[in-house]
Amino acid sequence: MIASDLSAFECVVPATVEEALRQRAETPGLSPIAGGTEVMVLLNEAKLQGRKFQSLHRLAAEWRYVRPALDGGLLVGALATYTDLRHLDHVSKHHPLLVEAARATGALQIQNRATIAGNIVNGSPAADTVPALMVYDARLRLVRSGGERIVPLSEFYTGYRKSVLAPDELLAEIILPPADFISQYYRKVGTRAAQAISKVVLAAARRGPDVRLAWGSVAATTVRTRRTEQAIAGGATADEACEALRAEIKPLDDIRSTGAYRMGVACNLLREFMVGATT
């Protein structure tokens, strides 16, 4: 049974994107809800203050898609679910880390409802798909009534669960450039294999001097470790790369793990990636 007093909550249900953006212009700060897998948990546990929601489910005709872009990249609509992403051959072939990340998230019931865009906007540093998206240099199309802007995912977060998304904006689309890596790696380490929130996530890719490392659960936001990337590109050994990583991230203690354990696991994942990586 739900623990919240629902009288403190309202919900509007726009039928089109245009209507949704108009509502947001008139009432900035409406809380968007898509698959509900984050919001409803908090609501059930009475962890949310009273607010007005905006349910986006009727925008599916406009915003639920995953399709190849003309440049060989990938376009993911705001209402595309994890399941939508998992079973497309062109995604498995060109952006396989997304498929692995989607599969590592929750159970089928969650994957059927949860959206990739929700994972981004929710802003958890433990998000499973955000490291993969960051490795692919994803850009985000943010829309508001009468305008839009494109923001690189690596510049989207400004702090713990904080982002540049304005109260009248919605994340409309995730834009991925073509990916052409020789080696790609994704590993989520949690308490157990299924349905656990991560202690450390590493998504990584390499082609020659182009080395990319994106981490979950080791900082206030998902982060790229660019100095470590440069060290590896410059020929660092695994020991030297771990040294660079230790200088670049300072994981914290929290309910799921300790900073020291996270640092140890992060180095192990980095070594595993480097051992397996062909340049």
Binding site: M1, V41, H87, A107, L108, Q109, I110
Partner: protein, 157 residues
């Protein structure tokens, strides 16, 4: 509390209910529709006891706000038996001892039904298909035997 009318199809029947738009579908099914086969387990999407099939996809009804069920097609455990005959998956759970205390069983059976309908959606097989459904009684092996038994019977039927 403001309740709004919401219509959906439940096990093939049109239903019109009154619910708060953010109320979990689970509570609406149990209170408004008397569909108490759908169980409350954890309320946070971890246990799968509240699983239903909505618009052809398995989902946890504790995490679906009622407004998102408007005009949906919903299947619950009550819709599986036909003319007094159990669905082959239910029958198999009975025979293998896949059901014990019964709290996880409706969600587990629906997850198994969905797996048999769409095995391609779970490349990791039944273990992946049932990953979101926790059982604290059986140790799972009787459940997996039930899924295999039902699958072989339905394939040869």
């Amino acid at each position: 509390m403001i309740h709004t009318p919401i219509q959906f199809s439940l096990n093939g029947e049109k239903r019109s209910v009154a619910a708060h738009p953010m109320e979990p579908l689970l509570d609406v099914l149990r209170r408004e529709c008397g569909a108490t086969g759908t169980k409350y387990g954890c309320g946070e999407g971890e246990c799968g006891a509240c699983s239903v099939i909505i618009n052809g996809e398995l989902a946890m009804s504790c995490m679906i706000p009622a407004c998102q069920a408007a005009d949906a097609t919903i299947e619950t455990i009550e819709g599986l038996a036909r003319d007094g005959e159990l669905h082959p998956v239910q029958q198999a759970f009975l025979e293998t001892g896949g059901a014990q205390c019964g709290i996880c069983t409706p969600g587990m059976v629906l997850a198994a039904v969905q797996y048999i309908r769409h095995p391609e959606r779970s490349p990791g097989g039944a273990a992946e298909a049932l990953e979101g459904n926790l059982c604290r009684c059986t140790g799972y092996s009787a459940i997996f035997r039930a899924v295999e038994l039902a699958r072989s019977r339905m394939e040869s039927a």
